[in-house]
Symmetry: C2
Subunit: 273 residues, 2 copies
């Protein structure tokens, strides 16, 4: 996610030392997984003693760990604990809701935001279309199989080849409708095509009467989930093209909110709990 630049100036009203510690945490990246004290000092233009105290304070609560052999720091296990909490915290729905609502308002379709969960996609946020509910059970929490329908295909197509092949190899592919693809070679050809065109479009692969168009949602360079528009196939007689711009714009906005969440512009004068 190094392509998303961070403004390193501490925002007005924020605590500078805390903000610096958070910047240090955010400096750890996949391409730069460990840092030494003098490197941190040089990167941010701080005294070595400042960098040392920030790093050891972060290590003191397990947000970093130092390698006893090299004295370099890496991300620590406290992050693991918080990371496991994140998806259950409600923040995802909170951040996604305004994007999904706007997309639903513009298109009139049902909007789904889904994340992968053991060879399925799990719906984590949804908005019903103007033509009424797609199904008679709650959309949120529902699981969709990895091999059927645009919602899943638009995510799995963007996994690294090796990981995708391992996931799909030797799997049973349940048939839901006469359009469900159950041959792994044919599925792989379709996923390669989805990847090339940047979106997935399916009609009746999972639900016979439903058409769906979906795009991946990325965190940095990694696929994180999928955003999709679905509805009765009669609503999609012109295919997916007319919806792609709105869908892509919403996916970019969702990515932005997931990496740089919006802030209240002013602190409330009388803080309330």
């Amino acid at each position: 996610m190094s392509e998303i630049p961070l403004d390193r100036k501490t925002p007005a009203g924020a605590l500078q030392t805390v903000d610096r510690a958070l910047l240090v945490l955010l400096a750890f990246e996949r391409t730069r997984p460990d840092w030494g004290v003098t490197e941190v000092a040089a990167e941010f233009g701080w005294d070595t003693s400042v960098a040392q105290r920030l790093l050891s304070t972060l290590a003191g609560r397990g947000f970093l760990v130092s390698d006893p052999a090299t004295r370099r720091y890496r991300i620590g296990p406290a992050v693991l604990r918080l990371g496991r909490l994140w998806e259950r915290s409600g923040s995802l729905e909170l951040l996604a809701a305004p994007v999904l609502e706007e997309l639903g308002r513009v298109t009139g379709d049902t909007v789904l935001f889904c994340l992968p969960d053991s060879f399925h996609m799990r719906c984590v946020a949804a908005v019903e279309g103007e033509s009424g509910p797609l199904r008679y059970y709650p959309l949120v929490g529902e699981l969709y199989p990895a091999h059927a329908g645009a919602t899943a295909k638009s995510f799995y197509a963007f996994l690294p080849d090796e990981q995708r092949h391992r996931l799909f190899r030797g799997r049973p592919m349940a048939r839901f409708t006469d359009r469900t693809v159950t041959d792994p070679d044919e599925l792989e050809r379709e996923l390669v095509q989805v990847r090339a065109q940047g979106y997935a479009w399916t009609v009746g692969e999972y639900d016979a009467g439903i058409a769906t168009v979906a795009v991946p949602v990325f965190l940095g360079r990694e696929p994180y989930g999928s955003l999709s528009l679905g509805g009765a196939k009669e609503r999609f007689t012109d295919g997916p093209e007319g919806r792609l711009d709105a869908l892509r714009k919403a996916a970019r906005l969702l990515e932005k909110r997931l990496t740089h969440p919006p802030q209240r512009t002013r602190k409330p004068r009388a803080p309330q709990s």
Copy 2:
């Protein structure tokens, strides 16, 4: 993980404001996913204005998000980014290595620490036994199927029933040896038994000549991975009992290092990168 008490006193040499911000982050738990300003102030005995500035500084970098409707805070998406980095960061091996080495020294067996990965267990750290390598390929990175062998069973047995049933339902169960269990009902009976006795013990389910005993590794109340001892079955003629104490002790130590990583006791006088 609320059963692991945090010492709230800022350690000597640490930056107090930063340490307080980290304590606030660690206060977010599954059973307490959102906090208001006055609640944080009351919990830690701080002025409301201190709590407000800490919370808004954390929100400013996306570590928290505030719900515009309730003004309460939840874990934010910056945690997501760091969480995805954690398992690739090398910290896991760094923290696990001393525990695995000691367990290997005491038992002479091959020691594996494995985490779940799409209906498999992935070996993330390993120590070879005194009787030489179990296999002629690297242990770390290897995937073990979810239904065969103690390493996998000692993890999957401890998943919540609903989640386990969903994972195992309708799966193809490959047969590796004549001891591999491929009937889902029989497998479920075995997993219930593993859960009741607290460990898994298998002989030749995955590798014909290998015996393995394994226990789950928990983070708080949630199963996170498994720690196992394996070797040629001739080494295990007395069954698993003689190894259980050492294995359980090592698993508890691993859990402790994952939640409270060890610290260097003194800052180096001349910080080095």
